[in-house]
């Protein structure tokens, strides 16, 4: 941004002003901001540097009537609400992880430590295998353990504890012991600039592990109801929260506790020509694709939010494919070995003769999640729309 001579000129200017805050030890943005203002090449930002618009339009759910009074909440606030409800009703419940005490890096635990005490909402050392192992122990001892992993990308040190221990605790002990009281929460999915290690969707790694439950909400109303169900469920649950929706997704969310059942997919939009299956953020992409398909192609698409990845609702998906004859599954995670492969395999087994076209997967490429190439990497509405066109004319 700056040439050396421009930078030196700026430095001399600042030193000449003589105030103590302009010394090189000045920490705050004054120096940097001043330099940026002084630079001629900064006065017009090139087109490429404007932040890319989101790849989806958030579609809020209607206000639920059956769960009592509602309040406008975004996704992270709906998570806070679920945590608040659980800690209020379950004296054994504790929340722990990195930085949860001050409110969390995504503000999901704001206010909870003050309200419930430092023995119930507390920071742990920076150690994911410890966070999950500790959580298993809390749960095995009969208390409700709510563990936070700061980003799903960092869940892998805990993979052994999750797969070899948590998932198998009940089975291997002959039901003498279990960690059903354990829920692990983690921010998940692309966020526009997250790159390799702040964008991952690792559900497929865990979907291969009997004994776990894996849940991904598409918005605040779903998140709170599903998260409360995870807390209540007597099996270890992993709850992935689409971080791009933390602020972007706003709905009227019931303040009282309510439970949305696990292992039940939801048809968010009915249709007759094609079935879309997605979860999390991608549900909103697919809703938009359904609109595009209707308007531009006259194709009626049934959009299903899978909600629980494991154990997944085979019946609802198959029932839809029997009706429509075509299935498109879409997720951000890389296509090879992604969860769409499991859905595809099961559906072709059970609905083979009903299929009018091969099952299509529109997913991330088989690469790590890239930084500057994110707009090209993600399974956006254009890629999905193109897949619809191919399938409808098969």
């Amino acid at each position: 941004l700056l040439t050396t001579s421009a930078m030196m000129a700026a430095v001399r200017l600042l030193l000449r002003t003589g105030s103590s805050s302009s010394s090189f030890s000045c920490v705050h943005s004054g120096f940097g901001a001043t330099l940026l203002r002084l630079s001629p090449s900064c006065s017009s930002r090139p087109k490429t540097q404007k932040r890319h618009a989101a790849h989806f339009t958030y579609q809020p759910d209607p206000v639920p009537a059956e769960y009592g009074p509602t309040v406008k909440m975004n996704l992270f606030q709906s998570v806070t609400s679920a945590l608040d409800n659980r800690l209020a009703t379950d004296p054994t419940a504790v929340i722990f992880g990195e930085d949860v005490a001050f409110g969390g890096v995504f503000r999901c635990t704001v206010g909870l430590r003050d309200k419930y005490g430092k023995d119930r909402v507390f920071n742990t050392p920076l150690c994911e295998q410890g966070i999950v192992g500790f959580g298993i122990g809390v749960a095995a001892a009969g208390a409700t353990a709510i563990a936070e992993i700061q980003f799903a990308d960092y869940i892998f040190p805990a993979f052994d504890q999750i797969v070899n221990e948590a998932a198998k605790y009940r089975y291997r002990s002959g039901n003498l012991f279990d960690c059903g009281n354990l829920t692990i929460r983690a921010p998940w999915g692309c966020v526009g600039h997250g790159s390799l290690y702040h964008s991952q969707s690792p559900e497929a790694f865990f979907a291969h592990c009997p004994g776990l439950k894996i849940v991904v909400p598409r918005g605040p109303i779903q998140a709170k109801g599903l998260l409360l169900s995870c807390f209540a469920d007597k099996n270890p649950c992993i709850f992935f929260e689409p971080k791009i929706l933390y602020r972007a997704a706003v709905e009227q969310v019931p303040t009282e506790p309510y439970h949305i059942p696990l292992s039940q997919a939801e048809v968010v939009q009915e249709g007759s020509d094609m079935t879309f299956v997605a979860w999390g953020t991608q549900v909103h992409v697919m809703r938009e694709v359904a609109t595009m398909a209707q308007e531009k192609l006259g194709v009626s698409c049934e959009v299903i939010d899978l909600r629980t990845i494991l154990p997944w609702d085979v019946e609802t998906i198959c029932k839809s494919v029997v009706k429509t004859g075509r299935l498109l599954i879409s997720h951000e995670a890389p296509v090879t070995g992604g969860f769409a492969a499991e859905i595809s395999s099961t559906v072709q087994e059970q609905c083979f003769l009903n299929l009018e076209a091969p099952i299509t997967r529109v997913c991330g490429y088989d690469t790590p999640f890239p930084h500057i190439f994110e707009p090209f990497y993600i399974p956006d509405k254009w890629k999905c729309f193109e897949a619809v066109k191919r399938m409808i004319s098969y």
């Binding site: 054994t92 504790v94 023995d119 507390f122 742990t124 050392p125 150690c127 295998q129 410890g130 999950v132 192992g133 500790f134 959580g135 298993i136 122990g137 809390v138 749960a139 095995a140 001892a141 009969g142 208390a143 353990a145 040190p157 052994d160 504890q161 070899n164 221990e165 198998k168 605790y169 009940r170 089975y171 291997r172 002990s173 002959g174 039901n175 003498l176 012991f177 279990d178 059903g180 009997p210 004994g211 439950k213 007597k234 099996n235 292992s263 154990p311 085979v314 019946e315």
Partner: protein, 411 residues
Amino acid sequence: QVHLTRCQQPFDSSVEKPQFPGASAEFVDHLEFIQPNVISGIPIYRVMDRQGQIINPSEDPKLPKETVLNFYQKMTLLNTMDRILYESQRQGRISFYMTNYGEEGTHIGSAAALEPNDLVFGQYREAGVLMYRGFPLDLFMAQCYANADDLGKGRQMPVHYGCRDLNFVTISSPLATQLPQAAGAAYALKRENSNRAVVCYFGEGAASEGDAHAGFNFAATLECPLIFFCRNNGYAISTPTDEQYRGDGIAARGPGYGMLSIRVDGNDVFAVYNVTKEARRRAVAENQPFLIEAMTYRIGHHSTSDDSSAYRSVDEVNYWDKQDHPISRLRHYMTACGWWGEEEERAWRKQSRKLVMEAFERAEKRLKPHPDLLFTDVYNEMTPGLDQQRESFWRHIQQYKEHYPLDLYEK
């Protein structure tokens, strides 16, 4: 307990004292590395010498005769069970076994110092703890034979015991995973105000795992009433300790985590008892973890899949078997007290062998669990998908039944 909280005083750079949040220490102006001391390491606490004589009478726990006899009988019963089950594996009757030879003192001494409702997390070489608590021979055998009486429903390899009633969490094969779990359990028990402690056993090899570091750090920072009990028996399968660590064993790591630590002669059942008792008392009273490193020796092979003559000498093993064995040392003590002699030894050997053989014969005859139990307890409730798999399984079995060993299993 003193722990350092964030400094509340305002920062004062006019005074030449460190202000760093990360450490409470003075400045020093000469460069000197801290030398780790492995030549003269942390000393080993003991009560008896190798001949079972009390060294310092004030350290003798002066346990009553019945208690001491019980220690001896449990250690020898474990030894007898080990011999018979090891042999049964060699004969193809069970698939696998791990003996506890030489480490009986660590089990019984520590188990005796705990309360019955203290929660135990083990690794795999702590059967004596379960035996001390009253787990019957029939159930040890049932687990090893994976028969229909197994509390674990036949799902795990032999020696992966568990018993809810005796507060012994089911063993799992991955090493050191129990350490952070023990910290979590201790934290939950602390919140219950139940005055229960957690004890977590592991070997010096498992202590190299990342989970061990996690467990120590969490237990210390979260102030858990927990005893970490390390059995340092000299080997992790074939790997001797000088290839496992370069520092002064496991006890020396404790202070690095801010944990009170001690090293003890694991073959001295009274020393193990004293140390565990005091650690337990303080862990619960002060809500902090303790690290006990019990030095011992693994006289047996790692397991029935191991032949340790491949990596150590018979002489080395014989030294420990003959000259420093927890059972012999206790017997010398009992003999010196006039509580045990040749006759009692003969009678007990006969009786303990009979008890083990009878349990063994019963276990051998018992059917295996019903194959339906392959499919249950994956979740708390059967899922539709698993139900379908189970139905498909039985249809297959029905058609091909002569190829499956159904007669061995409950119908």
